[in-house]
C-alpha cells in the first residue's frame, strides 16, 4: 500500500486523544446537566444513567486507552513508512564528513521515489494572517513536520502512554467507588468523602496525550508554545488531582508558577524570532538564521539571547537548576501521572525542544546549557541519596537524568542527549510504575523506611524494577548504558578539547556512581532485608495483571530498546549509534554554516570512547558496591553513616536548602511587598475613594440646599408675585358696569389730556 501523505498518519494519531478528550468532556458535561433530573425519571434520568450515573464507570478509561492505543498503531505504521522513505540508520547528506564518512554508504536517499519527502512528511495550513509593520505579511500556521526525531518521539510517547493508561485502569480503581475516603484530608466529620474521579483522570490523560503529541508534531514554535502551555495545564491539573490535600494543591501551584518563570523566557525568545525572522517555522528559521547572522541583520548577541530565552523555558519545563524545585513536589499527583508526565514525556519536552531548535543556540548558550545540566544532575543526585520517599528518590533521579540530557546537548552531543531522553523515558516510566505498584501493594505507603523484604511478596514488580535499576545504573546491555555512555564520551571529548571546563566531565562521571548508588539503595531498601514495618509487610500484595503487564512490556523495552547488531557494541545501537535513526535528524547542515559542528570534538569523542566507558564502569561499580555494603550485606550501618556525616545529611535532606532559599529571597519578599500593597490599598486608595465619596456627599448636600433655597426659591417667588398681583388685579373686575364706565371715562379723559399735550407739543415744535 502506498500513501501519498504518510505524515497525516501522525496528525490522526495526534487528534485521536483529542477526540477522546472531547468525548469524555461531553459525556461528563451531559451527566452534570442531567444530574438534577436523576430522581424525576424520563429522559433526564436515563441520560444521567447512560453517562455514568452515581458510580464512576470504566468506559471513559476504555475510550481513552483505545484512542491512545490506536494512536500508537498509527505511529507504528507511520514509522514503517518513514523507514521505507528515508532508509534505516543513515546520515542525511552533508553529515558524512562529520561522522568520518562511516555512514555514507548505507544511506538510502529515498526522495527520488513518489512525492518529494518535504510534502510527504511536512505540511501546514494557515492559521492566522498577521501583517507586520514592515509591510511583510506573515502567517501563523498549524502544521506537522516529521523527521526521525519526531517519528521516534511519537512511538515512545504513544507506547508509554498506552501502557500507562492500561496501568492506570488498575492503579486508579479505587476511584471507581461512588464515595472515596481521602484519609489525608481531615474535615470536622472525619476523613474527606468525595465522589470517585476515575473518568476525570482519563479525561486529563487524554488531553495531555493530545498536547504532548501536538508538541512533538509541530513544525513551528508557535504550535509548540500552545502545546507547551497545554501540557503545563495538564500537569497542573494532574498534580492537583487530589486537590483537597493542601500539599497537592500547593504542589500544583508551585509547578505552574515555576513554569511561568521559564515560559517568560520562552516568550522572549519567540518574540525575538518573530521580530527578526517573521516566522516560527523551524525549517524557515534554520534556513534564514545563518544568512541573517552572516549579513549582520541579526546581531550575535540577539542570537544568544534568543537561545537563552528559549532555554529558560526548557529549564522550567525540564526542571533544571535553578527551576528544578517543582518536580519533586509534583509527586503529589497519582503515580501513573508521575510516570507519564513527570518522568517520561512532559519533562522531556524541554530537552526535546532544545534539540529541536538546536541551531538557535550559540556556543555561549550551549555552554550555559551544559553547565545548567551539569549542576542539575549533580545536585539532584546528591539529594536523591538521602530521600526516603520512594517517589521522591525517583523524582530527583529524573531531574538528574534530565540534567544529563541537557549536558549532552550542551556539549554538542545532540544524538546522545535525545538518545538518553528515549531510553530514560522507558526505564523511568518503568521505575515509576514499579514504585506505583509497590505503593499500591503497600496500601499507599511511600516511605521506604517502612518497607523492606517485599521481594517474595511482589516478585514481578521487584524483577521489572530491577531491570529499570540496572538500566539507569548504566549496566552494560541495558538501555541506559548505551545512552549514558554516549553522553559521558561526549563530555569527555568536550573536556579534552576545552580543558577549563573539566567540571562538565567530572560532575556527570561522579554522578554516574551516585546514580548507581541511590538506585540500588532504593531497590535494596524496598525489596530486600527484613521488613521494617510488620503491618505494611503483612498487607503487601502483588498488583493485578493490568498493572504488571505494562511493567513487563516496559521492562523488556528498558532492556532492549537501544540494542543494535551486535548488542555489546554501544556505538552500533540502531537508535542512537553512529548510523542510528536519530543521526538522521541531527541538525547538521545549518550547524556547519554556523560553525557549530566541531570536527575535532567528534574525533576526540570517538577516540576516547573507551576511556569514558571504563571510567563509568569503575564509578558505577563503586556506587553499586557501596549501596550493597550499606543496604544489602549491611556491613556498614546507614544510621551510623548518617550520624558521622550529620552536617552533610542535613544539608542534603533539606535539598540544598533551595526551597528555604527561594522562600527567603523570593516568596517572603513577594509576600511582604504584597502586604505593603495591601496596606497601601486599604489606607491610601480605599481612603482616597472613601474620602472622595464623603466629600461628594457633603458637596451634594450643599448643592441641595442651594437648589432648594436659591433656585427653587427664585422660581417660587416669581410665581407667588404673579399670583399675588393677579389676586389684587382681579378686584378691578368688579362686575359692575358703572365702574367699567368710570374707567372708560377716566381713560377717555386721560387720552384727551395726553392727546392735547402732544398736540401742543406738535404746534409748539415747528
Amino acid at each position: 500500500m502506498q500513501l501519498d501523505n504518510p505524515g497525516l498518519l501522525y496528525v490522526a494519531a495526534t487528534l485521536l486523544p483529542l477526540a477522546s478528550f472531547v468525548l469524555l468532556l461531553l459525556a461528563g458535561a451531559l451527566r452534570s446537566v442531567a444530574r438534577p433530573y436523576r430522581d424525576q425519571g424520563g429522559i433526564g434520568a436515563s441520560l444521567y444513567e447512560t453517562m455514568g450515573g452515581d458510580r464512576p464507570q470504566r468506559t471513559g478509561a476504555y475510550v481513552a486507552t483505545a484512542a491512545i492505543g490506536l494512536a500508537f498503531l498509527l505511529s507504528l505504521v507511520g514509522f514503517i513508512y518513514f523507514v521505507k522513505d528515508h532508509g534505516f540508520g543513515g546520515h542525511r547528506e552533508g553529515a558524512h564528513a562529520v561522522a568520518g564518512g562511516q555512514g555514507g554508504g548505507e544511506a538510502k536517499p529515498a526522495e527520488q521515489e513518489g512525492a518529494p519527502a518535504e510534502t510527504r512528511w511536512a505540511n501546514h495550513l494557515d492559521f492566522a494572517n498577521i501583517a507586520l509593520h514592515s509591510g511583510k505579511a506573515t502567517v501563523l500556521t498549524l502544521g506537522y513536520y516529521i523527521d526521525s526525531l519526531s517519528a521516534i518521539m511519537f512511538l515512545m510517547v504513544t507506547l508509554i502512554a498506552t501502557l500507562i493508561h492500561v496501568f492506570s485502569i488498575g492503579y486508579m480503581s479505587e476511584e471507581l467507588t461512588p464515595v472515596v475516603e481521602d484519609h489525608q484530608v481531615h474535615t470536622e466529620h472525619g476523613p474527606l468523602q468525595r465522589r470517585g474521579r476515575f473518568g476525570r483522570f482519563f479525561l486529563y490523560l487524554s488531553l495531555f496525550c493530545f498536547s504532548m503529541l501536538n508538541l512533538v508534531l509541530a513544525d513551528n514554535l508557535f504550535q509548540v508554545f500552545i502545546s507547551w502551555e497545554l501540557v503545563g495545564v495538564c500537569s497542573y491539573l494532574l498534580i492537583g488531582f487530589y486537590y483537597e490535600r493542601r500539599s497537592a494543591s500547593n504542589a500544583a501551584n508551585k509547578a505552574f508558577i515555576t513554569n511561568r518563570v521559564g515560559d517568560a523566557g520562552f516568550l522572549i525568545g519567540l518574540l525575538i524570532l518573530w521580530t527578526y525572522l517573521g516566522t516560527f517555522n523551524f525549517q524557515d528559521i534554520f534556513r534564514e538564521l545563518p544568512q541573517r547572522l552572516a549579513d549582520g541583520s541579526l546581531p550575535h548577541w540577539i542570537w544568544v539571547v534568543t537561545g537563552l530565552g528559549i532555554f529558560l523555558g526548557c529549564v522550567g519545563k525540564s526542571a533544571q537548576f535553578p527551576l528544578h524545585v517543582w518536580l519533586p513536589d509534583a509527586m503529589e499527583g497519582p503515580t501513573p501521572v508521575s510516570a507519564l508526565i513527570h518522568a517520561a514525556t512532559m519533562v522531556a519536552a524541554g530537552v526535546y525542544l532544545v534539540a529541536r531548535v538546536y541551531p538557535l543556540f550559540s556556543a555561549e548558550a550551549r555552554l550555559v546549557i551544559a553547565y545548567t545540566g551539569a549542576i542539575t544532575l549533580f545536585v539532584a543526585a546528591t539529594i536523591a541519596i538521602v530521600m526516603t520517599d520512594i517517589k521522591k528518590v525517583l523524582a530527583y533521579s529524573t531531574v538528574s537524568q534530565l540534567g544529563y540530557m541537557m549536558l549532552a546537548l550542551g556539549v554538542g552531543g545532540w544524538v546522545a542527549g535525545i538518545f538518553h531522553l528515549l531510553t530514560h523515558a522507558f526505564f523511568k516510566a518503568l521505575l515509576f510504575l514499579c514504585s506505583g505498584s509497590v505503593i499500591y501493594g503497600c496500601h499507599h505507603e511511600q516511605e521506604m523506611t517502612k518497607m523492606g523484604g517485599l521481594y517474595p511478596k511482589m516478585k514481578t514488580t521487584a524483577l521489572t524494577m530491577m531491570a529499570g535499576v540496572l538500566a539507569i545504573g548504566g549496566i552494560p546491555l541495558f538501555s541506559g548504558w548505551y545512552s549514558k555512555d554516549a553522553i559521558l564520551a561526549q563530555a569527555l571529548g568536550f573536556f579534552l578539547l576545552h580543558k577549563e571546563h573539566f567540571l562538565l566531565f567530572l560532575l556527570p562521571l561522579v554522578t554516574a556512581g551516585l546514580t548507581a548508588f541511590y538506585m540500588f539503595r532504593m531497590w535494596f531498601m524496598t525489596f530486600t532485608g527484613k521488613p521494617r514495618d510488620e503491618h505494611v509487610y503483612e498487607h503487601a500484595h502483588e498488583s493485578p495483571r493490568t498493572m504488571t503487564v505494562p511493567l513487563i512490556i516496559l521492562a523488556v523495552c528498558s532492556i532492549m530498546i537501544a540494542w543494535g547488531m551486535p548488542p555489546w557494541q554501544a556505538e552500533l545501537s540502531y537508535l542512537g549509534g553512529h548510523e542510528g535513526l536519530l543521526q538522521m535528524s541531527e541538525p547538521t547542515a545549518p550547524l556547519e554554516s554556523l560553525h557549530l559542528a566541531d570536527r575535532q570534538l567528534t574525533e576526540y569523542v570517538h577516540e576516547n570512547h573507551m576511556v569514558s566507558e571504563r571510567l563509568a564502569y569503575v564509578v558505577g561499580g563503586l556506587g553499586l558496591l557501596f549501596a550493597a555494603l550499606l543496604y544489602y550485606w549491611r556491613v556498614l550501618d546507614p544510621a551510623d553513616a548518617k550520624v558521622q556525616f550529620a552536617g552533610v545529611h542535613r544539608f542534603l535532606w533539606h535539598k540544598w536548602y533551595f526551597d528555604e532559599l527561594y522562600s527567603a529571597i523570593l516568596v517572603r519578599p513577594a509576600l511582604t511587598i504584597a502586604n505593603w500593597c495591601r496596606v497601601f490599598d486599604t489606607r491610601v486608595i480605599d481612603g482616597l475613594i472613601d474620602n472622595t465619596g464623603k466629600a461628594t456627599i457633603k458637596l451634594a448636600r450643599w448643592d441641595g440646599i442651594f437648589d432648594n433655597g436659591v433656585v427653587d426659591g427664585l422660581v417660587n417667588v416669581t410665581g407667588r408675585v404673579i399670583y399675588a398681583s393677579g389676586a389684587r388685579l382681579r378686584n378691578l373686575q368688579t362686575g359692575f358696569i358703572r365702574s367699567y364706565i368710570l374707567f372708560l371715562v377716566l381713560a377717555a379723559i386721560a387720552i384727551f389730556f395726553v392727546l392735547s399735550y402732544f398736540l401742543t407739543l406738535a404746534q409748539a415744535g415747528p
Binding site: R730, L732, Q733, I737, I741, L742
Partner: protein, 104 residues
C-alpha cells in the same frame, strides 16, 4: 349777529356724551344703559357732522362716518337688546348689577 359756531356744536356733543356716560354709569336698568350708549354715540355723531360742516376737507367723510355710526348703533342696539332679552329670560330682571357671574 351772533353766529352759531363750531364750539356750540362741540359743546352740545360733549354735553350729550357726558349725559350718555352718566346715564350708563348711573342706570341699573339695562335698557337705560343702552340708551346711554345711544346718547354717547349720538354725541360723537354731532361732532362728526359739525366737523363736516365747518371743516371743508372733512365734508364727505364726516357725514359718511355719521351714517356709519348710526348704522352701527342700530346693529349694536339690536344685539344688545337680544342679549338683554336673553338675560331677562335667565334672571327675570334686567338689573345690570345682578350680571356678575363673570366677575373676577
Amino acid at each position: 349777529m351772533n353766529v352759531i359756531g363750531l364750539d356750540a356744536y362741540l359743546l352740545l356733543g360733549a354735553l350729550l356724551f357726558v349725559c350718555g356716560a352718566l346715564c350708563m354709569a348711573m342706570k341699573r336698568n339695562a335698557i337705560g344703559v343702552l340708551m346711554g350708549v345711544e346718547l354717547v354715540l349720538n354725541g360723537a355723531n354731532i361732532n362728526f357732522v359739525a366737523f363736516a360742516r365747518y371743516n371743508p376737507t372733512f365734508q364727505i367723510e364726516g357725514q359718511v362716518f355719521a351714517l356709519f355710526v348710526i348704522v352701527m348703533a342700530a346693529a349694536e342696539a339690536a344685539i344688545a337688546l337680544a342679549i338683554v332679552l336673553n338675560f331677562y329670560n335667565n334672571h327675570l330682571t334686567v338689573d345690570v348689577d345682578t350680571a356678575e357671574e363673570l366677575k373676577g
